[in-house]
């Protein structure tokens, strides 16, 4: 049937398609990127996945919003005790749309944390952490901890009374951890007391160290999602990873493993010509 419709295409349309395909084919032949993107985006998922399965990508989106707005805020923020508060006031009150971008970053932080918990709850309640996805659960829990650390380090940056005292309490909480706690607190403060070092330290951790870690962990997280496939919901009538499409073998023999769609070529139907 597909071939019948294709034959009806006009010459002009075929020319247009060839013109569009040329750069894509060019890129694919030299990098395999198009096939890679297809492999990443056009995966087979169980037929009865639903809105619950979108929480992970929602969390990712929230993180990307944080990364983008954070990079822009860093262009105006001054991370030293004399200027930090004034620069935040400047961003909020004087600069065009500064209030909006700062607001997105501030409220988006909470959205990110909340979505992480929702996503975690979905995975837990669906039992999606079970074999063979245990490692991805562990990476997810690490991401949660690192994400909270990102929230903690970011909270100091407005450098107002709330930020200062919340950080005093937060660091001292870390200091009460047995044995190494006092050293952890000193490391976070950059010394025995919150001083000039602390703000720059938190700024560096907040915008370089921890985001790098989060990007790396998200990469691992997604790699495992793609490798292992998406799990069926608990009410699914199909056994997880069962053959739901007779065209493509989707199991590799082990139960629960959904093999993503064909690896070779970005146009699986072969396209035209």
């Amino acid at each position: 049937m597909a071939t019948a419709t294709r034959n009806k295409k006009s010459a002009r349309r075929r020319q247009l398609e060839a013109a569009i395909n040329y750069p894509i084919d060019w890129l694919e032949e030299r990098s395999g990127l198009i096939g890679g993107i297809r492999y990443f985006l056009f995966r087979k998922v169980p037929g009865d996945t639903g809105w619950w399965h979108t929480l992970g990508s929602a969390t990712l989106t929230a993180f990307l919003v944080q990364a983008l707005t954070g990079v822009i805020l860093a262009m105006y923020y001054k991370p030293d005790p004399q200027n930090a508060y004034q620069s935040i006031q400047h961003i909020t009150n004087d600069l065009t749309l500064g209030w909006l971008v700062r607001g997105m970053h501030k409220w988006g932080a909470s959205v990110f944390i909340i979505l992480m918990f929702f996503h975690m709850a979905r995975v837990f309640l669906f039992g999606a952490y079970k074999y063979p996805r245990e490692l991805n659960w562990i990476i997810g829990v690490t991401l949660l901890a690192v994400g909270m650390l990102e929230g903690f380090t970011g909270y100091l940056l407005p450098w107002d009374q709330t930020a200062y005292w919340a950080t005093v309490v937060g660091i001292n909480l870390n200091g009460t951890a047995p044995f190494l706690g006092p050293f952890l607190a000193d490391f976070l403060r950059g010394g025995g007391e919150i001083g000039t070092e602390t703000l720059a330290r938190f700024y560096s951790m907040h915008m370089l160290l921890i985001p790098g870690l989060i990007f790396a962990l998200i990469g691992l997280h997604l790699y495992l999602v793609i490798r292992l496939g998406v799990s069926s919901p608990p009410w699914s009538r199909e056994a997880a990873g069962s053959d739901y499409d007779s065209d493509q073998p989707v199991t590799n023999g082990r139960s629960g493993l959904t093999q993503p769609a064909a690896r070779s070529g970005w146009r699986r139907n072969g396209g035209e010509g």
Binding site: P81, L173, G175, T176, P182, R189
Partner: protein, 317 residues
């Protein structure tokens, strides 16, 4: 994503050193133009011409129908001979165990050298991140002004800067009471306002006489603010409700010990603030008080009782 098929063909013509010699000759000319055009430039010209001639000769061998020496593609010792690629002529079977395992050596050398270089970069960087937090700090002596300002038997909320050049971030507060003379020397009770729970600033439970605030400007940019107060109900923390009596003993709430105190000395009639220390509890009041002193520890950390085994080490300050 199919792998592009590369045939392992030999270079034709084989690689030669003449292009490098030609480049060296050109470089010699350019350097000579700057340093000594009369001597060095001709040398460079000779090198470039000779090497260029041989380069051109070897590059055109093929077209001059001279035999080109084929270059044997390299084969790793670890690779099974002939098994991998039927397209290539299978070389004579070699017992892998009898050959020097060059692949292994290169693998080890890459990992080892890479690790060494990585370590040379990472170790100092991580050290720079961690060590300064634990070194070379200590507690500065802070001049709090003439003794006469501290009326005997009265409490003063005293605000000062530990490092005046750093500004507001080094602002600290202590509750100070002049206890009069003890064995012929002045006695002071100096209580830190840092809560022994998690470090919030404790407040006096009683009137603070803001209208009698006294500002004292001292050398080196030090500015001391003194506000008389009557902490009849001791001290209370606004964060989590820890309560202390006026000597700093814990009365109720989450704190694990009494409020920290400062050592002091008298120099030229001025009260000088010394090193802070931690206190488990205080018996008695004022100059007759018995203070159970410990090395300064962070808020929330036990210094007595069985829980002290949880905090055996303190960072050096």
């Amino acid at each position: 994503m199919t792998e592009p098929q590369h045939g392992d063909r030999a270079h034709s013509p084989g690689p030669s050193l003449y292009p490098i010699g030609f480049a060296a000759g050109i470089a010699c000319i350019l350097v000579g133009l700057i340093i000594n055009p009369k001597v060095i430039v001709p040398i460079g010209v000779v090198i470039a011409v000779v090497c260029g001639f041989f380069w051109a000769r070897s590059a055109t061998k093929e077209f001059r129908d001279e035999p080109v020496a084929a270059i044997e593609p390299e084969r790793g010792g670890a690779r099974e001979a002939g098994a991998a690629d039927p397209g290539e002529a299978a070389p004579a079977a070699v017992d892998a165990g009898h050959r020097f395992p060059r692949n292994r050596f290169l693998e080890g050398a890459t990992l080892g050298l890479g690790g060494l270089i990585g370590g040379l970069v990472t170790v100092p960087a991580v050290g720079f991140m961690i060590v300064p937090a634990f070194k070379g700090q200590g507690y500065p002596k802070v001049d709090l002004g003439p003794l006469e300002n501290f009326t005997e038997g009265k409490w003063f909320v005293t605000k000062f800067f530990t490092h005046p050049a750093d500004g507001e971030v080094s602002h600290r507060t202590a509750y100070i009471r002049n206890n009069g003379q003890l064995n012929g020397k002045p006695s002071f009770t100096i209580i830190s306002n840092r809560c022994a729970h998690l470090g919030c600033p404790v407040q006096p439970n009683g009137p603070v006489q803001d209208n009698q605030t006294k500002e004292i400007n001292l050398p080196k940019g030090q500015q001391v603010t003194m506000i008389p107060a009557i902490p009849a109900g001791g001290y209370g923390c606004p964060c989590h409700g820890g309560q202390y009596d006026s000597e700093g003993n814990r009365v109720s709430g989450p704190p694990v010990r009494a409020l920290d105190r400062y050592a002091f000395e008298i120099v030229d009639g001025h009260l000088i603030l010394g090193t802070p220390y931690s206190v488990s509890h205080v018996k008695g009041v004022g100059k007759d008080a018995l203070i159970y002193k410990y090395k300064l520890t962070g808020p929330g950390q036990h210094i007595d009782g069985w829980e002290q085994i949880l905090y055996p080490l303190q960072p050096p300050h």
